[in-house]
Symmetry: C2
Subunit: 189 residues, 2 copies
């Protein structure tokens, strides 16, 4: 047995998924500031430079993190009434933001280009269509919806809403009310 450790020199054993798993764990445990090439590599029992093959560079690592965040969102169930689907989506976003407060902010910095992001966008647009929103309003309204959901979740998770939990809930209730009536109004026209 020449390779006592799990991975020898030229052995292919690492993978992009493994790297991102470790990164997400690290971010959850010790915050985004603790996410460094060296930190992730240590957690994998590997040299920092080994990561570059799989994520390109540090920015690529963060992009991968964002990608993962989106996949943590709950699946949409098109069978439900659109109101319930909207609420479920909101709750999902809120939970993801709570789990990864600082990482969540990265969502504001990247355009919707990855496959996962596209899928999430299409989900919301399908939801709006099934609510009866006319086609030309769907794209901008989807963007507005995204922004409000992400903005609220980011604010709460990062402590910008400093009051007690009940106050924060009121803001969410208000947003929900506002959005539901807006969608209904556009659907009626």
């Amino acid at each position: 047995m020449k390779t006592p450790a799990r991975r020898g020199r030229g052995t292919r054993g690492l993978s992009r998924d493994e790297v991102l798993d470790a990164t997400l764990d690290l971010a959850e445990e010790r915050g985004l500031d603790a996410v460094s090439m060296r930190g992730v590599a240590d957690r994998l029992g590997v040299t920092p430079m080994a990561l570059y093959r799989y994520v390109g560079d540090k920015q690529g690592l963060l992009d991968g993190l964002v990608e993962r965040l989106i996949t943590e969102l709950p699946d949409d169930d098109p069978g439900l009434p659109w109101q319930d689907r909207l609420r479920a989506l909101g709750a999902g976003i809120r939970e993801v933001a709570r789990r990864h407060p600082q990482v969540f902010l990265l969502l504001f910095m990247r355009p919707t280009v990855t496959e996962e992001a596209r899928r999430a966008r299409d989900t919301v647009q399908a939801l709006l269509r099934s609510a009866g929103v006319p086609e030309d309003v769907v794209p901008p309204l989807q963007r507005l919806l995204d922004t409000i959901g992400m903005g609220l979740a980011a604010s709460e998770a990062n402590g910008r809403f400093s009051g007690d939990a009940a106050d924060v809930d009121r803001v969410y209730d208000l947003a929900e009310d506002l959005l539901l009536t807006a969608i209904e109004r556009y659907a009626r026209e």
Copy 2:
């Protein structure tokens, strides 16, 4: 003349305002990543350690930056109709975000505690009151307003809205429409 340079060793010549001015300039010219203790110090012709007396540490520097961002918002004119005041505020936020895209994201990470932030919050609340929004709805609605404005501005300035300018404008129009009718609805009750 023993002190050829403007600031000799023990001369008191630096100030917190001077430091933050230089920081904001640097951030605008070369982005947030270029904002480092060394970078700011260089721009002031000073040693990095000299900054610590005025801003505490790097986080304090960034907090000061956020504070400055808020003061860049346009002044509110209570004489105007509340609809116009709301639009002016939105345009102001949008412009600040455009000028300092990355710095703007820091707003999501800090609670509303500084004097400047409090003033901005009170402005929005006063606006809502003068629109006739009942007292118990004012605080949560103000938070929602803030979040939507900041979320849209942050998204646009950081490139999350990838489409052309007309598409982005449509989102803002939609938000404005949505908020105006919502405020009117709450004011009527």
